[in-house]
Symmetry: C2
Subunit: 287 residues, 2 copies
């Protein structure tokens, strides 16, 4: 989806550098852009951008900011460390109070439903929620080799790992897998990708038979039930560092469906480490 440049855009910004990257991409595309930082989360330097802030108790303020900007499209992007507990907030503006029944209904659901609920909440107010990668298209990779020169063996590991990652995504179990010597050695569950990579590093140290083989690949895939507009799996410079520490030779990602945080630094580290990053066409949906 290519967005016409004349639509004003609002970026609701959490932590990290990605919101700034999206803001820059929007301005480069000639879009009138407003960044609304989430208090206590947004931490990039938005100097030179129209920048406002709101806290979770100020949904009314948020709505005024969005409508005052004339935004039709809203991007929600960046890390959110603290899940808001509206029961603990003492200062709620009128917009928040009015929205409380709707907010509580959203928060009672699981994690995936909360995100879906937030999208519904915003769209119910007349906005379109747009994926960060639809504004900053370089946040995702097209099919092919992004960096490095993977060998046939490395590509075989990458492909097997991505098939496994995709399969466990169907189970809603995790979104990452590791293949070494064309054998799946680790599958991600609730522990997350970093803990899984630590496990692989440990398996290597303890020299299990399978791990005599050098190299191998980490793969990361989106899950079919993820709304990629607000919830996309990510890789970044630390992924390269951690995968390298686990003795792996590269990372496989799904083209268009995995976000690359700080692409320049990610590529730089991969090049320095002799590491490859390969994007594969998304797997077919389950029948």
């Amino acid at each position: 989806m290519i967005l016409p440049p004349d639509r004003p855009l609002a970026i609701i910004a959490g932590g990290g550098s990605v919101p700034l990257h999206v803001a820059r991409a929007a301005e480069q595309a000639g879009r009138k852009t407003l960044v609304v930082g989430i208090e206590g989360e947004a931490d990039a330097d938005f100097d030179g951008f129209s920048y406002e802030r709101f806290s979770w108790g100020q949904i009314g303020k948020l709505e005024r900011l969005l409508s005052g900007h004339g935004a039709r499209d809203v991007v929600i992007v960046g890390g959110v460390r603290v899940r808001p507990d509206f029961r603990l907030l003492t200062q709620l503006d009128m917009g928040t109070v009015k929205a409380l029944p709707e907010i509580y209904a959203i928060l009672r659901k699981g994690d995936n439903s909360v995100l879906t609920g937030v999208i519904r909440f915003i769209e119910a107010r007349g906005y379109s929620v747009v994926g960060a990668h639809e504004v900053a298209t370089d946040l995702v990779a097209p099919e092919g080799t992004l960096v490095g020169k993977p060998s046939a063996e490395q590509l075989a590991d990458a492909r097997l790992a991505i098939e496994a990652a995709w399969l466990i995504g169907q189970l809603d179990a995790g979104q990452a897998a590791v293949s070494v010597g064309e054998r799946i050695v680790a599958l991600e569950g609730a522990e997350g990708t970093d803990a899984m990579l630590e496990r692989v590093a440990l398996l290597r140290e303890t020299r299990r038979v399978r791990f005599a083989i050098p190299g191998g690949a980490l793969a990361k895939c989106s899950k079919p039930q993820q709304d990629l507009r607000v919830d996309m799996p990510t890789i970044g410079p630390d992924t390269v560092t951690h995968a390298k520490a686990a003795g792996l030779a590269g990372v496989a990602i799904e083209a268009g469906r995995v976000m690359i945080i700080d692409r320049a630094e990610t590529v730089r580290r991969a090049e320095a480490a002799g590491f490859f990053i390969q994007a594969f066409a998304p797997q077919a949906p389950s029948p």
Copy 2:
């Protein structure tokens, strides 16, 4: 497969109590039984049974023992800690020397192929390799509840976990999975079931959101490429203890395709812990 009682049986025994259990079942079935312990591995007390020993360099002796016993069926059962390295063996009997080209060809393959190779090696000499569970049928469980009274929620976790375990078996990745609150939280890779359960225990301690829910189930499945005659996934008393330590409420296994080590003690511990064990019909083979 019910074996006729008149066929002499040889049991090539590794470590642990299972070989003894199989020997008792064979004798109870009226079969003439010879136990051949693997030197350095077999550690049960085979008093009262015809018992011989051989070491890896004595393939000739093993062949003489089997043929002297008149065995037609051979069970290979019990733990083997040390994978034999025939290059390091200094004393090889003539039967071993003659078999060396065949042995090297087997050992060059991966783990699964080694077992397949051993079966082929024995069958090439005119014996049938028989599964321990075909002699001691109580080593596996029929479909249904083996112990405990699982609730509908617990059965839902058990069923989801077994589906996940089965699915990753198709990937040849692992054979165990954990579901908590009808969500897959851990999938086994090369780390093995115990390490996976430790991970679940740790996730509980660190109180990840998903783990607010008590209970959950471990599942264990065979992999489609496993030859269940010599390589069957197992549960036992320690599985109950470790799964309980991970806060789980029960274990799901595949009926007829997962071995229960020391069933009496396993059931006793499960009962003491208020733990369930449920056997499910094997999943359909992949299309």
